[in-house]
Structures are given as C-alpha cells and as structure tokens.
Symmetry: C2
Subunit: 547 residues, 2 copies
Amino acid sequence: MPDRSGLLIGEMPVMWLRDNCPCGLCRDPRSGQKLFQINSLPAGLRVESVVEGIGGGQRSVEVVWGPDGHRSAYAVEWLEANRPGGGDGGDRRSEHGKELWRAADLAGRLPEARWEAYAGDPGVRARMLEAVLRVGFMLLRGVPERAGQVLAVAETFGHVRETNYGKLFDVRVEPDPNNLAFTSARITPHTDNPYRDPVPTLQLLHCLVNDAEGGESGLVDGFAAAAELRKEDPAAFDVLTRTPVPFVFRDAGTELRADRPLIDTDPLGRVREVRFNNRSIGTLRLPAAELEAFYAAYRAFAELLLRPELQLDLRLAPGDCLLFDNTRLLHARTAFAQDGARHLQGCYADLDGLASSLAVLRRADSLEPLAELFAGAGAAEYLGESVTMAEHMLQAGARAEAAGAPPHLVAAALLHDVGHFEGADGGVSGQDLMAGTDNRHSHTGADLLGRWFGPRVTEPVRLHVAAKRYLCAVEPGYHDRLSEASRYTLRVQGGAMTGAQAAEFAALPGAADAVAVRRWDEEAKEPAAVTPPFEHFLPLLAALLRG
Amino acid sequence: MPDRSGLLIGEMPVMWLRDNCPCGLCRDPRSGQKLFQINSLPAGLRVESVVEGIGGGQRSVEVVWGPDGHRSAYAVEWLEANRPGGGDGGDRRSEHGKELWRAADLAGRLPEARWEAYAGDPGVRARMLEAVLRVGFMLLRGVPERAGQVLAVAETFGHVRETNYGKLFDVRVEPDPNNLAFTSARITPHTDNPYRDPVPTLQLLHCLVNDAEGGESGLVDGFAAAAELRKEDPAAFDVLTRTPVPFVFRDAGTELRADRPLIDTDPLGRVREVRFNNRSIGTLRLPAAELEAFYAAYRAFAELLLRPELQLDLRLAPGDCLLFDNTRLLHARTAFAQDGARHLQGCYADLDGLASSLAVLRRADSLEPLAELFAGAGAAEYLGESVTMAEHMLQAGARAEAAGAPPHLVAAALLHDVGHFEGADGGVSGQDLMAGTDNRHSHTGADLLGRWFGPRVTEPVRLHVAAKRYLCAVEPGYHDRLSEASRYTLRVQGGAMTGAQAAEFAALPGAADAVAVRRWDEEAKEPAAVTPPFEHFLPLLAALLRG
C-alpha cells in the first residue's frame, strides 16, 4: 500500500515527523530520550522517499530524508494512532476527561475499597487510583488505626510532600492553633495550602478517632462548580480566571504567599486547578473597578460552592482514609463539640506520582495474557526435555539476568519459546514439531510478542532458531553439546547453516543478541534449577512495553 | 482629618474594605485567618460612618457598617499602604520583579558565598536566598564534600521534594542509565523533570568530584530568553504560551506525562514558568497547521536559547553547590571523557519554602533595633535594682514563657520597659523618674513598639504602670511586696488607684494582660537568675510582627 502510506506521510508536517523518528541515532535506546536538538535538524528538511515494508512482525514505513539522507522507519500502527489532528491535545489534569459530579451522581458508587484489598490486589489498587484521577478522590476503609499509617498509604503510589505542617500533621483541637483546622470550628469547603506554589496536589486524611458530636466531612467537586459558574455567569468565571489572588499564611516559622487565580485554566481555556480558601485570601491591590468585579465574582462562586446539592457528605470512621485531589475537590467539616474526641492524621502528596503508579500498574495488566501462558499452557512438558515449558523459559530468563544482560535480552530469553504456545489456538504446535514439522515457532513467537515489545525484544526471539543452525555451522563442538531433543528438531529446522548462510546471518543486526539468547536457551534445561516466578520479571517486562 | 479619611474610605470598594476588617470577630487573633465567608456579608453592605482617632500608638479610622452595625478599625498606615490601585497586583513568581540577565550582566557579581558564612550568618543567608528569587540561582563554595550534604543545604531553607530519582540522586556515568544525565554526553540547556506536574521548582547540584576533561556547567535565564523571543518573534512567543506540549518519561517503575506549554504565563500575560527539554518532548497531536506553527516556534526558541551570550559558564569544583530556579533557569553541561571522574549529587526542593525562609529571616532583620537596645543601653543599671535593664526584661520574658503564656504576653513581658530607653534620645529618662519626674515610660514604650507589633503586645505594655497602681488598690499586701525602688516610683506615677479608677481600669480590654505582665515584672529582679539571651526570643517576636 505505498500509495496510501505515501499520501499519509505527505500530509504530515516534516519537522513533527522527523522529531518522532524512533531510530537509535535519534533516541537513546536505553532511556528512550531524544538525542538531537530540534534546531540541529537541517534547513530545508524534506521527505525524499517513502517505502513500505514488513519487519519486526509489523508493517512499517521507511522514510528517507533530504537533504541529510537520514532514514526513519515508522510502524504503520504508530503513524495511524498518532496522525496529526487525530488526538485531543488535551491536558489530562484539566476538566477534559474528568467525570464532573454532584453529590447525587455518586450515590451508591463511592470509589471505596478495603485496605487489605487495595494493598494486596493490583487490580483494586488500579481501580482506586483511576477514581482519584477521574472523580477526584478515593476512600479506603479498614486502614490500620496506627499513628503514621497515612504515610504508608501515600507511599503505595507516590512521595509524601513535606510542608510547614510537617511530613505528617494531626488534625485535632490544639491549644494554640496556627490554623483553624486545628480547632473545633466549622470549616466551609476549601482547598488546602493555596498559599503554597506549587500547591500540594493531593491530600490524605486518615481517621484515628471520631467520637465527637459533629465533625462530619464533605467534598465538593470544584471543577463541576467552576463549570456551573461558567454556564450561569460567564463574566464572573472569566474574572476569576484572570485575577491573581494573594493567598497568605504566616506563623512563627513560616511566611507564605502565592498569587494565583481562584480558577486556573489551561491554554485551551479548560479548568485545570481550583483554589478556594476564604481564610487565607490576603489583600488584593487592584484598581477599585477591578476589585468590585472580583468581589462580585468571588461572592458568586462562594455561594455556588455552598449549594447543598454539590456537597457529598461523609462521616469518617476510625480506619477510614480519604484521599483527594487538592487542585480540584474542596473539603469541609461541620463544627464539633470542643471536648469531643476527633483525631485525623494527614499528609500531602502529588498527582503526578499517583498517575505514574497507575500507568505502571496498567502495564502489568496488559501483560496478563503472557502471565496466563506461563501459568496455563506453559506447565505442559517441553518437547522431550525433563522440564516444563514454563520452567525452561524461566530458567533462560533467570540465566540472562544472572549474567547481567540488559533488560531487553532478559525479556527475549524469558519469552523466546512463546511461539510454541500458539499451537493451542490451532496451527502447528510443539507436538507437531516433534512429529517432524517445523512450526516456525521463533517467527510466531516474535510476531506474538510484537503486540507488547519492540524489535530489540522480538528479533532475538525470531532469530533464536537460526542462531542454533548458525552455531552448529561456526562453533566446533556446539552440535554435540545439544540435548537429544534439540538435535532432533535441528534437522526439522533445516540443519546447520552453510558457510554463505552463516555469513549472511552474522551480518543481521540482531545476530549477536540471538546467539546470546540461544546459549541461555541451551543452558535452561536443568530439572533441579530453582527459578523465580513469572511475576518476578513483570517490572522488567513492563518497562519494555511499547510507549 | 475626618474629611481626608472619609474621602479615602468613600472611594474604596465596600466588599474589599470589609473583607480586610482586622477585628477579632473577622479574623482569628491566634492564626490571623479569616473567620467569615465572603457570601455571609450582608446584602446592601455600606459604610454608615467614618471616625478617625488615635489608639494603640497609631492613627486609625473606625468604620461603622450598615446594615449590620459591624465596626472595623483600620490603621491609617494600612489604608495608605493598601489603597486600591496603589499596588502592582503582580505575581511574584513571574518575570515581574525579577532581574533578567545575560551572561555579561553577571560578570564580577555572581551570587556566591562560602558555606560557613551562609550557614552561620543570617544576613548572608538572606542575601543568597534573595538572589535565587531575583536572578534565579546561588552558588555556595566550600560545602563539605560529604555524600548527602546536598540534603542539608536544602534543609537550610525548605523541604526536599522526593521524585522518581529518589530524595537524593547521583549525577555520574551509570552502567544502564535511565536518563542521559547519567552518561558522559553533552546536555544542552534544559529544565529538569518537565514531565512532572507540579514540576520541582528548585534544583540543587553539589559537586563532590570533577576531574574530568570537559563537564563544564552552564546556566541560561529562560525568562530573559522568553522575553527576547517575545520581542523578536511575538507570534512564536504566543504559540509557545498556548500550546500544551506532552513531556514524557518512562522507565521500569515510572511513567510520567505532563501537558504544559513551553512558556507559561500568568493571567496578566507575564512569563512565570519555562519548560524546555528536547529529550523528553513526546508526540504532539494537533492539526497539521498547528504542528507546523508549533515546530517553527519551538525551533526559534531553541536557537535563541543556544546563543552564547545568554549562557553563563561555570565549572563546578568539589565543594561547590549550585542551586537554581528550575522553572526559570535552564542548565547545561558539556560532554566529558567517559573515564573522567565527575560526580555530583543533586536533589529537588521548592521555591515557596525558600521564599518563606527569606521572609522569616527578614522579620528578624527588622527587629535589629530592639536587639541593639538590649545589647547597648539595656546594659545600664535598672533604677536602683540590682539587675541591669536588659537582665530585668529578659527575666520577665523568661518567666512569662515558663508560665506558658501566649506569645504576645511573652513579648509584652520581655519588652515592657523599653520606654525607659527613649530617654537616651532626649526627653525624660529613667534617671529623671528616679529624680521624681514621671517619664510615662509605659506610654513611650508602647508607642515605640507600635512600629513592630499590634495592640495585643503594645497595650499590656502601655498599662503595666497603671496595673501596679491598680494592684496596690485592690490586692491586700501587694504594695508591701514591691521593691523599695518600685514603691518610690509608685508615688511619682500617681500612687494607688481610687476605687473608681480601679473599676475603670478593670473594664479596659487589656487589663488582665497588663496585670499578668505586671506580676512577671515584679518577679524579674533576681540578681542570680540565669536568662536566655535576647536572640532566644527572636522567632517568637518575628512571628508577632505586623503583616
């Protein structure tokens, strides 16, 4: 389909396309980081030619660039997924893609989980972290009522952000409070620490004691409220997005000030942060007319935020830990009897670490089919060897790891024989191979793995059978060290290479890697070997997943 | 001057003025936080009357509000300083108020200091922290070449921000780097962690070893570069401020993404953050025409950032610690020989904590004249007692502190006799008092202290002589326990109060506090007492300074 791809390429801005070149000269193969400056691309950059092909188990397009002759190979799948104009360009932190809510919308479907499930089950953890990004909070129940436990909750997904209140702070009545939070007073809906810049983007509150009369908690979706204000009173919304407001805090050791609008929008005008805290707004210094407009808008927003239908009421019980997006949700509490016992512990953290943890959990999710292969079909015997398929591959992976191999080779060693499993779904199986038919398992395996991994993983797998035929040709004694089963399959696979074949093989880019995998493959047939489980390799595999 | 003040008040937006009411019903006296919601102010808010007066050592204006009858007393000084339209309304993090620079501008005046001076001298520390806010960096020399010392540097002004690179990270050649920083490659000017949101706003780099050929450091003022782009190519500047750019990072345990413009402006259009990192810009998904415009602008900015005249070159030597604003300055390094030893340790922190530390240091600065009183004139004898003036006041402050008194009373006890010092500048002195003339030292002291403190500190000082006359009237045996000198001065001060005077005194708002101060005053004449130095009270006093 050269025409179609040519047309596609012809429509793409050249600088954008070149900036996304995936080759090893343009991107560091280890870190994936770009190795060139945008201004070091040649003047007059142009596409000289476009050739479509198939390689590494996927359709790709090779572009030859003028005037510098650079070559870039793009996967067609990538080009289709990233076609200019095809995306939303939206900021994931903004209202775009969030689920805005009023209290009634969450009736019967609070994002909540038991602590043991959250801590022990990555699926539950992913569901809860996703809820924080989507609706702005999660509620964990049954979190051990230990002092300091809230820090452990934060560490399940990110890093604690220390502030002037410490790494950990106690929310209870204090004798000489530096903040009304540490009294028994009612606190209307607000965001925390608006006087910090950057503001802590997540807050955690862990309830240890709540015997007080009163002291109920409430949450309001500030993005939903801001969207409502934009609908009802666009002028007020506009004023609040463009008026920097001084938020101030001072006590004995602290003097903070940040000048930020109550509603912050991204460059596309979407709400991305809300700051609202009547207690800490300092003195605005603007011309009188602007002050009038600001105060009218501020008051309109304050009234809107207090509408009962917006506020989700909760009563935190001992063991409950509430986590919420402090750039979006406002939190509140009712007054309580001064002598009533109410003790929460809190800390701050950040959304970026939480989103990262969720993305990494999802990588592991996407590897589930591979995990199932190891647990299911992999438990079958391995072509006449005295280990199972899974044991054989785990041994190969463990040997590569012990040898200090780079991650992509550990993965290739671990997964080199997955092509044998394909027979289960029809086609030629391992049993067929032993019955004298080449199942081309190295190719089916590499193609299967192409769903998750790039050529650095798939090509050594593709070539690992050829590597056996190569080694038999060039390494004296290699053939004799093969297991009996392996010597048998060699014949089905074409026997030792000729000299010309061996020279051609050695010139392939993945040849050396394939030979390395082959050696671990040969060694991985020890009946007594103890290997780590497949899960041990999940983080390594997850890190190698296509972006 | 009721006319002048009336006019002033009449021009002020009522909601703004009322929102700034300093009374104890509107603001929590302990934390200074506001106690009311903006929307709980009555509809039809209006100024009913304005009366000017003098109280607490300063001119003030009392406003009576309709329709609710609330009363607010504003210091004229405050009204003048905060008059609507009089301020700049600028965001202190933006280019507004910064000193933008090119390399030559800093020739011979690098913001640098020796570690011992920085650590030991608050004045040096304030000067260096101020430089970070103004020019974007500071350079400390002679920082102990200990692993982990960079964390101690960060803790001199704020909190370390932990990231996926840890609390502390090593910048040296790594065998399997997840970032080009950990290779020997040249790194062009960039900001760090643009894929984090919030981005770490400060970076520290502490040099432990630098024997490598190459490996020079460079700094570029990104705000100056952005301002230059705005001048030379306003359209490109505009494109870069309104195009969210995906910044991405992934490794085995991390997957970060932030969508933010290269140049972020505040609502007034001023540059407030620059993100620039060619290595981690992901795939933009915009219509082709927008991609063309973005890449042209991105390239123009990249070229500008590489102009040699913008880059300040430095070579970090062992013991040097560079700290810079990661939202403003770009940093770079030249390539170095792979086998050359170069080892930096780094960490991240945040600008808000640094600015807070600077503000607190400046409070202590402003108390310098009081510190001098204690060190100078205070060493003089105290009116016939066997302690010096300074010893007497330090004892009073220490006794208040030991009694668990709130900070404003500790301050009042510590400073109750500063009025005696005023005589040194002319007027009636302590010696005059002993010679039979009432120097009204309680009033002169309170008026003097009004420069720094509010009525909660000044009024007990003003009333502490009256409190003696009151106690002599109402407390049997009190007079007899007075020292001989105090009994003598009592007569000059008017003797014991009459019953009517005592009742009037007891009704004053500060009477109870003044009586408490009086009792510590009486106790504070022990020749053998050991007291902390004046500096011990500085943080407490600093926290009480007028905002």
